[in-house]
């Protein structure tokens, strides 16, 4: 490539006043491509503003408005009642339930997914392709069907209760449909492929020689795995935890099918408020809280890490 002595490509221009502006391409094409570039961004930005940002601003505004039960419309009177209402029992229970289910499902996905990812990374060639296919295929299979499948496996006398009864603790007539357990199984099932793939791709990139070096230095395979492979694969685990945990929080379909209206998650509360009672203000407030939870879950850890870094920097500087 023609890059050996070109300085960093993505860097910005300093505000110097030279006679000829430093140009990456010829001035005409550069201006043209910058203008064209901006124009090409217009559809996305239009889409994002009209269908994404504006609706969410509306949502935020509506969550502070008052719902008029007589007219069935919103009165634009500022109130925080919709938010205080959130701590009412049923809503709050659903919240706790959502977070609980997400956390448990994330842990379960990582625990079930890691060995699969590791096993795939140990194979090669055709076998590896087949195993990957075995993971990817369920992921691309119609989502509702995958959720629905568990309805046929969790009822009294179905596969799962029967298997549990083999332990002797429960009867095979146990009905797990429309329970928290059913929702949890559904979530773990649907998100499992998403938790396998990132771990696999990180494991695959680990230099096999590192593990061999550990053997050579006297480590048993188990110890070598624990000291070398596991630490190196943790970034993949982190990605898979995010990929499972965050979408889980806002899940609608799985609890709608497997929870049967009994086990609710935040997603179902939002739609219920909008379409059931028609109380948009309440629905908007729940949606805003869900939004907040998602943003904290996604950027929270990084934000905290950044704060810690900042704090240490300030502290070390003041000490010096």
């Amino acid at each position: 490539m023609l890059v050996d002595d070109r300085p960093d490509a993505g860097a910005t221009r300093p505000p110097t006043s030279q006679t000829t502006p430093p140009a990456r391409r010829s001035p005409a094409t550069r201006v043209g491509s910058a203008l064209g570039g901006l124009l090409a961004m217009v559809p996305t930005w239009l889409l994002v503003v009209v269908l994404f940002l504006v609706p969410i601003v509306f949502l935020a505004v509506a969550s502070l408005a008052t719902f008029n039960w007589d007219t069935g419309k919103l009165d634009w009177v500022l109130t925080f009642e919709n938010y205080t209402e959130l701590f009412r029992s049923s809503t709050f229970v659903a919240f706790k339930n959502s977070i609980f289910l997400s956390v448990v499902a994330t842990i379960a996905c990582v625990l079930i997914g890691y060995p699969i990812a590791y096993a795939i990374s140990l194979t090669s060639g055709r076998a590896q392709k087949l195993l990957l296919l075995a993971v990817i295929t369920p992921f691309w299979t119609a989502f509702v069907v995958r959720v629905y499948a568990w309805l046929t496996l969790l009822g009294p006398g179905d596969l799962v209760p029967w298997m549990l009864s083999l332990t002797g603790l429960t009867s095979s007539d146990l009905d797990l449909t429309y329970t928290n357990t059913a929702v949890l199984i559904g979530i773990v099932y649907c998100y499992l492929p998403l938790s396998i793939l990132p771990v696999y791709s990180v494991l695959e990139q680990i230099d096999r020689n590192l593990v061999l070096a550990a053997y050579d230095l006297g480590y048993s395979p188990a110890k070598a795995w624990f000291k070398v492979t596991l630490p190196l694969s943790l970034p993949g685990v982190a990605v898979s935890a995010l990929l499972v945990g965050i979408p889980c929080l806002g899940e609608y379909t799985i609890p709608a099918v497997l929870g049967g209206g009994k086990t609710l998650m935040i997603g179902n509360l939002v739609t219920n408020a909008f379409t059931g009672t028609g109380n948009y203000a309440a629905g908007a407030a729940i949606a805003m809280l869900l939004l907040a939870v998602i943003l904290v879950a996604n950027w929270g850890p990084r934000g905290i890490a950044a704060l810690v870094r900042l704090a240490t920097r300030v502290l070390t500087r003041s000490a010096a």
């Binding site: 090409a40 060995p115 392709k129 990817i136 069907v145 793939l197 869900l290």
Partner: protein, 267 residues
């Protein structure tokens, strides 16, 4: 090595967990006992019945057309954005745009759909297909962008420079070199967003109004009436149709690449 034995056992159990429900659906679609209480002998009655069913056919067609439109729009928007970004090469804009992409992906679909729903109620806009498509494009275009832009940013200047050096005018460079090199990622993005749209329950349910029915909403409706063999037949067919784009995508890009799609951005 006992270590690998443990891993193998755990992995086999995990893979069984992934496949048992799918096999169960397929098996029960041929179950002679309509209520699925026991194995009632092999029959293709439910499949025949489903395939002849007008509602099923309409909904399948609806889902398919909607998914094609959504995928086409998403890919078009995402591709132009990726091209634009390549032209701009502005670090700050990129970062702003990146967070908008990420935000669209992490935002629960329920929130996106209900916020649009709220606007339709406040502004008295009628529900319908247009809104279903629009709301799906919001997040599908983000995924499409991720796939296409990943390829676009890997695409070295080298080929475009060579084309210019050989005398190609800018639009020729774009049409003959840039676009052809991007085609695989465009197709994969298309197939992925197609699948997302085909799978979607929330948008058609809440933004479609009474006239919009799709395969997922059909299944959701049937489930409410209980678990029967004909639901399984619909489910099996839906499953089969959903695998067509997967295998199309697989022929375009290797299993390994497809496995990596969309999983490398967050985090």
């Amino acid at each position: 090595m006992t270590n690998h034995k443990t891993v193998t056992v755990l992995a086999v159990l995990g893979l069984l967990f992934l496949w048992v429900p799918i096999v169960a659906i397929a098996a029960n679609a041929f179950n002679g006992d309509k209520l699925l209480l026991e194995w009632g002998g092999f029959t293709t009655r439910w499949l025949h019945q489903t395939l002849r069913d007008a509602e099923f056919r309409t909904d399948l067609r609806n889902s398919f057309v909607c998914a094609v439109v959504v995928a086409a729009l998403s890919v078009a928007v995402a591709f132009t954005a990726a091209v634009g970004r390549r032209g701009l090469r502005s670090g700050r804009l990129d970062r702003a745009d990146d967070s908008l992409v990420l935000l669209r992906m992490v935002m629960p679909e329920v929130v996106v759909v209900m916020s649009i729903f709220l606007i339709t109620r406040l502004l008295e806009i009628e529900l319908g297909w247009a809104l279903v498509v629009a709301s799906q494009v919001v997040y599908c275009s983000a995924y499409a962008f991720l796939i296409i832009n990943a390829r676009m940013s890997q695409l070295s200047d080298v080929y475009e420079n060579a084309a210019r050096d050989l005398g190609a005018r800018p639009h020729v460079v774009f049409a003959r070199v840039t676009v052809p090199l991007m085609v695989p990622s465009i197709l994969v993005a298309f197939l992925m967003t197609f699948t997302f749209s085909m799978d979607d329950v929330v948008s058609p349910t809440f933004l479609g109004g009474p006239d919009v029915t799709t395969l997922p909403t059909l299944i959701m409706g049937m489930i409410r009436h209980g678990v029967t063999a004909d639901v399984n037949a619909v489910a099996l067919l839906a499953m089969v149709f959903s695998l067509v784009p997967l295998f199309a995508a697989l022929t375009l890009t290797g299993v390994r690449n497809l496995g990596a799609v969309g999983t490398d951005k967050r985090g």
